[in-house]
């Protein structure tokens, strides 16, 4: 009953100055629109840029590093208190870079509930032979299905069918840069030499474009079996295990755990790509800061309009108080005015923000380095909308708070006597 009365009075005061009210609401609408659009666009961009690297980066990579043995022979000798051993120029001994018990590790990982999937890989240096020239490169032997499922391999195959890598024997998917340099078309055959001197002809079944030029200029993909054949190794030869986790945040502790458990080297994505995390979080921070600044500016607009309204309506406030409205009632009236500006403006902003981001989402954005991206990237995240709603209500509340308090403190005697 009383709330209804207060809402009624607030509404009448609002409508009496509807033009000013509209401008205040438009200010909020504009800032919420920009806030939503900015954040959606910025995080879309962040995701795209992170995806460029992180989508294809395993959360944990298991491998065998080439390094000197920590247990040198001298340490086996009895240690005396008065001596200390210095060993100069330690070299790693000749070691194989394969993961020894890869089959056991894979089956152990598949049992682990935290692991989303495992993709084995062989990375090896090779030469592409073109006429008399040898161009250095890297061949990644991959499990096509696992690689595609976990690391979106097929998104980056820009020509040819990625499954041909499995279905056609001795096939290769070339990096786009390599293919351009060697002037090879799909269906052509390329000669590849390993660093041990073995040579194998491979049939080109597709091109691959990652968006990172350096990678595209040197890397190519074969199936694991083809790579093992190329290297003359047995079919259990694996150099890397790429692990994708259900929760990427678990990667650092799990990497340590696997290192101890399997006796191999492990590196987690956070350690390997620390700079991407930093970049993303700073970009988000900037967009939040800009959005919030916009809202605060809109808040000042509301503050001004309410202040003017209170000066204009001094008489009305005085008479309301004289006829029995308490300071709290007057406060509630002006707070409701501020909040309704905020809520109406904010709701409009949410809609327009959604609209504007949808429009941006339709704008073509073609770039050679990003084959999977056709339009500007936008992320529709409900969190942005929730934050925008909360902020529009909170800022308008504070913008309304001080003018309302001033109105509630108006002394009716001074105004009535002043006439």
């Amino acid at each position: 009953m009383k709330y209804k009365l207060i809402a009624d009075i607030a509404k009448s005061l609002l409508l009496a100055r509807w033009k000013q009210t509209l401008i205040a609401a438009v200010g909020v609408t504009f800032s919420i629109t920009m806030f939503i659009t900015l954040l959606s666009f910025m995080s879309g961009l962040n995701n795209m840029l992170d995806g460029l690297i992180l989508n294809r980066t395993p959360h944990i990579r298991l491998y065998k590093d080439i390094k000197p043995n920590a247990q040198q022979p001298i340490t086996l000798a009895k240690k005396r208190d008065t001596t200390y051993n210095f060993i100069h120029s330690i070299k790693p001994k000749r070691e194989r870079i394969e993961l020894f018990n890869s089959a056991t590790i894979i089956s152990a990982l598949k049992e682990d509930k935290r692991v989303l999937g495992v993709a084995p890989k062989i990375a090896t240096q090779i030469f592409y032979n073109v006429g008399v020239m040898n161009i250095t490169g890297v061949i990644n032997g991959i499990d096509i299905e696992a690689e595609s499922k976990l690391f979106f391999f097929k998104d980056y195959v820009v020509a040819g069918n990625f499954m041909d890598l499995k279905n056609v024997t001795n096939s290769i998917i070339l990096g786009k840069g390599v293919a351009d340099k060697l002037m090879l078309n799909i269906g052509d055959v390329i000669q590849v030499t390993t660093n041990k001197g073995e040579q194998l002809p491979l049939k080109v079944v597709g091109y691959f474009q990652s968006g990172l030029l350096d990678i595209d200029k040197s890397q190519s993909y074969c199936s694991i079996a083809t790579t093992q054949k190329l290297l003359g190794e047995a079919n259990n030869y694996i150099t890397d295990l790429q692990i994708k986790l259900k929760d990427v945040a678990l990667a650092p502790p799990m990497a340590k755990e696997m290192q101890e458990k399997f006796g191999v080297d492990a590196i987690d994505v956070q350690t390997a790509n620390a700079q991407f995390e930093t970049g993303s979080s700073i970009r988000s921070l900037i967009s939040y800061a800009v959005g919030i600044t916009l809202l605060i500016v809109a808040g000042f607009g509301i503050y001004n309009i309410l202040n003017m309204m209170i000066y204009e309506k001094m008489d009305s406030i005085a008479i309301l108080k004289a006829t029995g409205f308490s300071g709290n009632d007057v406060h509630a009236i002006f707070i409701s005015i501020a909040l309704s500006i905020g809520i109406v403006g904010g709701a409009g902003g949410l809609l327009l923000g959604f609209g504007l981001s949808s429009i941006i989402d339709q704008i073509p954005f073609n770039t050679a380095s990003l084959p999977t991206v056709k339009t500007y990237p936008i992320i529709y995240n409900p969190t942005f909308y929730i934050i925008a709603t909360i902020f529009s209500v909170v800022t308008t509340y504070f913008a309304g708070f001080f003018p309302s308090r001033k109105a509630s403190k108006i002394d009716p005697v001074i105004i009535i006597r002043g006439k």
Binding site: M1, S12, A16, I319, A322, G324, K419
Partner: protein, 225 residues
């Protein structure tokens, strides 16, 4: 003997800015039910100041004030607002109607605030008050479409809406011409005679005062008669 509606006991008030000037000195008087009282005095004698103290809007004074046999000294803002809402009706020199609302709504507002009756009943009562004052035809107009005399009558209707113990007027005819003044005065007289309404009116119009039941004359912050 009828009940005491309002009692002032030894009220003193001073303005402190820039130097302390006493405005009211030891004011004591009683107001009984259905009395029609006017306060007169020269400009600056403190009669308006006294009225605002009596109305509970000005709480900065010394002494004691009882409304309906209850002390109002030291009450909270909300409690005083309720007292004003329930027991006191105001008519000022200026009408102070809200132009955003219709005449009817202006009259209804204090009634809606009190919440004693439903909205429909308050509306019915508001119509009744307007009829008593002869302006029920203007009920749905906006205040700025009315003449000065009509506006003042609407203000009186607003003061009556909660059936207050007491109506206070601060120069209610001050802004009106002779004819309208006479109408407003007749309304007050009618209210006192037919409805046993207690009225306390501050005026400097001696002719107006002469027609009331009792005159309180003030000079230099004191009651002299």
């Amino acid at each position: 003997m009828s009940a005491i509606v309002l009692e002032a006991k030894h009220i003193n008030k001073s303005f402190h800015d820039p130097i302390t000037i006493p405005v009211l000195k030891d004011i004591s008087f009683q107001l009984r039910e259905s009395e029609f009282v006017s306060i007169i005095g020269k400009s600056g004698c403190g009669k308006s100041t006294l009225l605002y103290i009596l109305s509970t809007m000005d709480t900065d004074f010394e002494g004691e004030l009882l409304i309906n046999n209850q002390s109002v000294v030291g009450e909270t803002d909300a409690a005083l607002a309720l007292i004003r809402n329930q027991h006191i009706g105001f008519v000022f020199q200026f009408h102070y109607l809200l132009n955003e609302f219709s005449v009817l709504k202006n009259v209804m507002l204090p009634g809606l605030k009190l919440g004693q009756y439903s909205a429909a009943e308050v509306e019915h009562r508001a119509y009744e008050k307007l009829r008593i004052l002869g302006i029920e035809k203007e009920a749905l107009k906006k205040p700025n479409q009315l003449s000065g005399g009509q506006k003042q009558r609407v203000a009186i209707a607003r003061a009556l809406i909660n059936d207050p113990l007491l109506i206070m007027g601060d120069e209610p005819t001050g802004n009106l011409d002779k004819k309208n003044s006479a109408i407003v005065f007749d309304i007050f007289k009618e209210l006192a005679a037919s409805y046993k309404q207690t009225l306390l009116i501050v005026t400097h119009d001696n002719e107006f005062a002469a027609n009331t039941q009792r005159i309180i004359e003030m000079e230099d912050g004191k009651i002299i008669n």
